[in-house]
Subunit: 362 residues, 2 copies
């Protein structure tokens, strides 16, 4: 019976770690006292197995556990349940990494477009893609459209809704998408650029699928969602129906799952074409190494899965473009939001400067 | 413009707390540099406001922030986004409590059945309800049905699937639900009890809605889901379609949201009739006070919302029934899983003892 491998960090006294690791392997599989298991049930292979325990420091261990892939039902929700269901509630556990054998990996299609698809949309090769965010909340569709028009004139590849734009009354989804997209297309006709507006889908499945239909009717070529708010099984199902690339925003994450795994691997597994995450040195606290590991996971060879585009963001500035290009290389998307808006009357110039800095060699 | 209040715990040096609180209020609302806000945008009322900062101990503060309810779009996904979207990624922030004004609360129906509905199903008043879990993973539908038959003969009110039972090949949903439900109904005809089988729905919306239809066709009278895996906006939408009470299982939670808020308030707000959570003194680490606060939130008067039933669980034993009755009072459901299965050949007797201990006065 084939097995997946899940790697956890476990906080424990050294004298307790073996028992704690077995308890975790049990919790994440048969979830009952081992003394109560009956031989004639024939479920022994389904019990999680502790494969390795490695000390990492004072009272911290890396523990590798294997689980029978049959328990995942080859489906996103139950896979998450097996990896981090009950133990999500145990504060001494952090999920660090996951290795899936081909028989399980083949159940997931991953990104439908990936890096190549996003590059094709943008018509850009050999350089990072550029993106900004429409905000703040509270602007009307026309106000957002005006901002988007300026960004598009400057030649940004992607202009996305801020994740805080839902279906609020001040800018209802249908009106917003129409107004912004028309403004961007108008700018494209003037400028010759191919700026792509990326609306944010938000809500329960009925509402999100309705928004996806509206987006399709408006000719939208990429969308954004927050997979942790929507739920990863719904996200996985949605990607199949969208027919356009999807940018995944990290809002509402924060469980004890390593960001490199959650955003770099799991979001990609479930179909994200691009993964937005808080870059080091911004308003959030991820380390440089965490961010580089995340980007590496998103892009590296992984079975049949297309590579996903890393999108470091969260308080980035024009001054950091050179450094980010150096850190991430060309297969990345640089997302600068507030720092462009801060230009006020000089928004077009500042946005052009962003585009030029990204396009310039070195 | 009406506002909701969100209370956070913020880790900060005292000299930085005021700026940190303002940054949090900004992150969770307009999400841009305040210096970049234009007067003519007219969005000032949508900016989060710091209402109070209270020291809680060394470098820890309770911070109350108000947000304009218009930003929530009166919808589950966007409400979560406002409360704990980006700041979920900031490790110095914990979401502690939420107060919703009537204009926002009225957008959510909460439990459709609540405590009264679950009592009516069980035909039981004035005592805690009883529940156990079918496990382990790997049993066939017939093996699960045999266990369920025994539990039902003993007179348990609810026999639920373990949360680890998805749509796996060893016990596909349709076959499992049919076999187990028929076994329970057969036992009910023998015993005169009204045991209710509660299958677990798992997967993306299409799959879950299909499972809900199957359950309905089999005459299932209550279901279980894991809202954090399904996604809370989908959970909220699903409850509207189910037509039967729903038990909410806590798997895959573990963000920095106080359990009393997440399980006691938010799960209830989005429609959970009963909320399962790890009781103190079991395999999990919640404190007694956390558990009592959670139960209180689930049951207390809250606008038009029906009370939800607290279901303390996670390594509970027969020996603790008296203590739990005293701690939680009658409006609770006691869930004992593995400790019953440990009885082996004496499963029926042990299950009867559970039922009797709960029913006995005092």
């Amino acid at each position: 019976m084939e097995r997946l491998t899940a790697t956890y960090h476990l906080s424990s006294k050294p004298e307790d770690i073996e028992a704690r690791a077995v308890a975790l392997a049990t919790e994440q599989s048969l979830e009952m006292p081992l003394s109560a298991l009956r031989e004639d049930w024939g479920v022994g292979d389904l019990l999680g197995r502790v494969e390795a325990i490695e000390p990492l420091g004072a009272d911290l261990f890396r523990v590798r556990i294997t689980l029978a892939i049959a328990t995942t039902a080859f489906e996103a929700g139950q896979l998450l349940n097996m990896l981090f269901g009950n133990c999500a509630l145990q504060e001494d556990v952090e999920l660090i990494d996951v290795e899936l054998p081909p028989a399980l990996l083949s159940a997931f299609q991953g990104p439908r477009f990936g890096i190549a698809g996003l590059r094709e949309l943008a018509g850009a090769q050999g350089r990072p893609l550029t993106c900004t965010a429409l905000k703040p909340q509270g602007l009307s569709p026309d106000q957002l459209a005006e901002l988007a028009h300026t960004f598009a004139l400057a030649g940004l590849d992607f202009v996305k809704d801020d994740h805080g734009l839902g279906n609020q009354r001040f800018a209802p989804f249908a009106q917003r998408v129409r107004a912004v997209n028309q403004a961007v297309e108008k700018a494209n006709r003037t400028s010759g650029y191919r700026t792509c507006y990326v609306p944010n889908l938000q809500g329960g499945p009925k509402e999100v699928l309705k928004q996806a239909r509206i987006a399709r009717e408006e000719g939208i070529r990429a969308v954004m969602v927050e997979p942790m708010i929507l739920g990863l099984p719904f996200f996985h199902e949605l990607v199949e129906e969208l027919g356009v690339p999807v940018l995944a925003h990290p809002a509402f994450a924060g469980q004890r799952i390593a960001p490199a795994l959650l955003f770099g691997k799991l979001f990609r597994l479930f179909g994200a074409d691009a993964v937005i995450y808080p870059n080091y040195g911004g308003r959030f606290s991820y380390s440089r190494q965490t961010c580089l590991d995340l980007a590496n996971n998103a892009r590296k060879a992984w079975g049949h899965l297309r590579p996903a585009l890393p999108v470091p963001a969260g308080g980035m500035s024009l001054e950091r473009v050179g450094e980010m290009k150096e850190a991430y290389g060309p297969d990345t998307m640089l997302l600068i939001g507030g720092a462009l808006l801060s230009a006020g009357e000089r928004l077009l110039e500042r946005s052009r400067e962003f585009v030029e800095r990204v396009a310039s060699p070195g």
